[in-house]
Structures are given as C-alpha cells and as structure tokens.
Subunit: 221 residues, 2 copies
DNA sequence: ACCTGAACACCGTTCAAGT
DNA sequence: ACCTGAACACCGTTCAAGT
C-alpha cells in the first residue's frame, strides 16, 4: 500500500538516479512496484508531485539556527539553502520551477524575515531584502547544477574555454579564470556577504525618509 | 528555404504563444511551413536550439551603456538583463536551463567585469561580484515568471494567500504583504542596489590582505 | 542540398475494469 | 479503496526515400 510520503521519497531517489528529465511517472511507478497511473491516487498531476518534492528538498534548511549576529545567521541559512538545493540532482531546477508554498518553504522565508526584522529592518525593506537573498541563492544554485549537467556530458570544458579564451583583447581574462578556478562554495559565500554588507549598510546609514532609489530604466511586462 | 536565424526567431515567437512546454519540434515546424525533422538540418538537437534562443534573448542587453558612475551603469545593465529575460514568456527558464556561451552572453558578462575592474576591483573579486549580480537577476526573473505562470492558471492568488495567511502568530505578515503589493521592478531594483552597496563598501573599506571571510558551514557536493 | 514520411521508443493522463 | 491495462494524444529523434 502506497503512501504519499513514499511517493515523494521515491521521486527524489529517482531524481538522483535519472535527473529531472528522466523522472517519469512510469519509471517512478516501477521504482515503487506499481503502475504509473497509480500515482494519480496521491497527486492530481506530475506538477503537484514536483511541488511536494520541492518543499521536501528544503526540509533540512528548516532546522533551528544557532544564536549569533543577524548577518552570520543569514549567511549560515543561505549556505544551508544552497546545500539543500545541491544535495539532489537538479534540485535547484525542481524548486525554481514551482512557486513553492509548502511548510518548509514558508518556515525558511519566515526565518529570514524575522531575523532581518529583529536586526531593526522595517517590515517592507525586510521583505524585499529577504527575497533578494533567496533569489541570489536560487540563481547561484541553478547555474552550479547547469554546470554539473554539462560536466556529465563532457560539454563543460569546451564551454569554459569558449568563455575564457575570448578573442576580444581587453576581455577580463584573469577575472574569468579566477571565477572558474574558485571553490563554488567560497564564491557563493562571497556573494552572500556582499548582499549582507549592503543590507547592513542600509540599516546603519539609512536616511529614513528616503524612498528615493531612482526607478529602473523600464518596467517589464 | 529555411535559414538558421529564422528558426530561432520562429522558436521565440512560438515560445510567446505556447510557453516553453508547448514549444515542440512539430509545432515549430508547422509555424515555419516545414515538417519537424527539417529543423535537424540546422540544429543537432532541441537543446542546441534552446541554447541559440537563450543567447538571442540577451541581444538587447548588449547595447552600449551610457557613461556614468560604475554602480549606475551596473544597475542599468541589470535592469536591462531582467527586461530581456521577461520580454518573452518563460525567457528566464530558457536562459537558466542552458549554460550559455553565445556572443551576447559573453558580451554582457564582459561588460559587467570591465565596469567593476574600471571601478578599481581586483580581478578575482570583480569576477565573483559579476557572477553574483547575474545570479540575483536570474533568480529574480525566474520567480517573477513562475508567478506569471501561476497567475495564468489561476493558482497564484491561492498560493499567495497560503504564504501570507500563515497560522504562525509571529509570522512576518506585514513584510510579506508589502512584498506582494510592491511593483516587481522596484523590488528588483532594491535588491540590485543592496548588492551594489555591498560591492561599493568592499571597494572603499577593503582590508587588502584579508581573504578571511570565514568558510561556509559545509561545502556541497 | 534540402525536405518528407514513416517509424521508434518514449511521454502525461484518463478511465473502465478488476480485486 | 486501491490498483491495473489499455488507450489517447502527444513527444524528440532517426533515417531511408523523394525532389
């Protein structure tokens, strides 16, 4: 007798074996000793299953944070979020695809918000800053896994070369080489700390009346 | 007689009509008055076509930037990048999926790097900061379009409610409401400026010997 | 050289029928 | 109540054959 949680667990295991493109209802059924259509007893669609998987992936991030300064807590949480997304093959794509609203997602977002507000951020700014952090983590993780996917097929080294050995003479050759040589975790951490530094600076030197960061060039559709 | 550029143009037009999931070789063939397999004269696989589409989407971003302070230039470029990703349905997903190395992608990355280096950043930090900017933009745009996709199917309002009306009493209710009420372009701009503020601060107050931002909690696989 | 037609090995999903 | 078997309407891709 198949339980809902077993389906999600099996789906994540299959994700690791086959990747997102190889995750099909037929293969998942087989892995669970059941026919494909049996999954529709537990999920109305494959997309609903992916939603459940996404929230499941964030479970480890929901663990309580140790006490400490707000920025260290957020750096830690961001690192955990990245680790959770990278812990399973194509995990970042699974989470990015679905606008998740599961319990773990809410808890994580809530933690970021409360940490920022406890540090003294007004509610509106805290909300925007919290989302900025999430987006950076998501973007970084997606690209790390895109790179991993290319490495698997052997396309990675050729693309890296294409990027680095650009004919343009004043191309920032050194910078790119350093980017690709670096430990991705360290690179990730550097970016998060840039963001946190910006938040800290805003917190201390805020001119409270000013909403005047100038509007962007154009508002997209 | 079908030209390669026509295929890419047709594919982007079809993307707008049908979305990424509806972009199939058969439909694209039909739109170009050709059978599906004819596309394989120009692209070895659908993935190769998506790569070409991704770089094509970034074409408008490659336009020259007006002179100005480095941070204003980068804010402008980031806004353009976001606009380009949002200009076509599922554009962010198309770009995120492929680790693009086309000419426009290289030019955009190159511009960010040179702008940072011209502002006085050492090469390695400039590289990391440049990627941090890209990742934030990508993550933000993906989530904006995920939201757009849910809005189309009517799932959005229910999910928004799920996020905001959380039973948890100390849930950051106000912050979340403000996030969802805000103009996405303004929210985006706020995050970019946090990042730029962090970069500027690093530039001015850097203790040049220190590589000592502490290592992250765990290095993911 | 460029494209078609048919085929192969798949998909997600529906639904009557079985137990 | 839970699952199967068969079917429907699709996919990406290959490849001989046409023009």
């Amino acid at each position: 007798m198949l339980r809902r949680a077993d389906v999600v667990d099996g789906a994540i295991a299959l994700l690791d074996d086959e990747g997102l493109d190889g995750l099909t209802t037929r293969k998942l059924g087989a892995a669970l000793n059941v026919q494909g259509p049996a999954l529709y007893r537990h999920f109305p669609s494959k997309e609903a299953l992916l939603d459940a998987m996404a929230d499941r992936l964030l479970e480890p991030v929901a663990a309580p944070l140790p006490d400490g300064p707000w920025d260290e807590k957020l750096a830690l949480l961001a690192g955990r979020l990245r680790s959770a997304l990278l812990a399973h093959r194509d995990g970042a794509r699974v989470v990015a695809g679905t606008y998740v609203t599961g319990p773990n997602t809410r808890l994580v977002e809530n933690t970021i918000l409360k940490t920022l507000q406890a540090a003294g951020h007004p509610a509106d700014r805290a909300g925007w800053a919290a989302f900025a952090i999430s987006y950076y983590v998501l973007g970084h993780s997606i690209e790390e896994q895109a790179q991993a996917r290319l490495s698997a097929t052997g396309d990675w080294t050729s693309r890296k070369r294409a990027l680095i050995q650009h004919p343009d003479p004043d191309y920032a050759h050194t910078a790119l080489t350093k980017v690709f040589d670096a430990d991705p975790a360290e690179r990730f951490d550097y970016g998060i700390r840039l963001l946190l530094k910006g938040i800290r600076h805003e917190l201390h030197h805020a001119t409270p009346k000013t909403t005047s960061h100038r509007p962007p060039e154009n508002r997209a559709q």
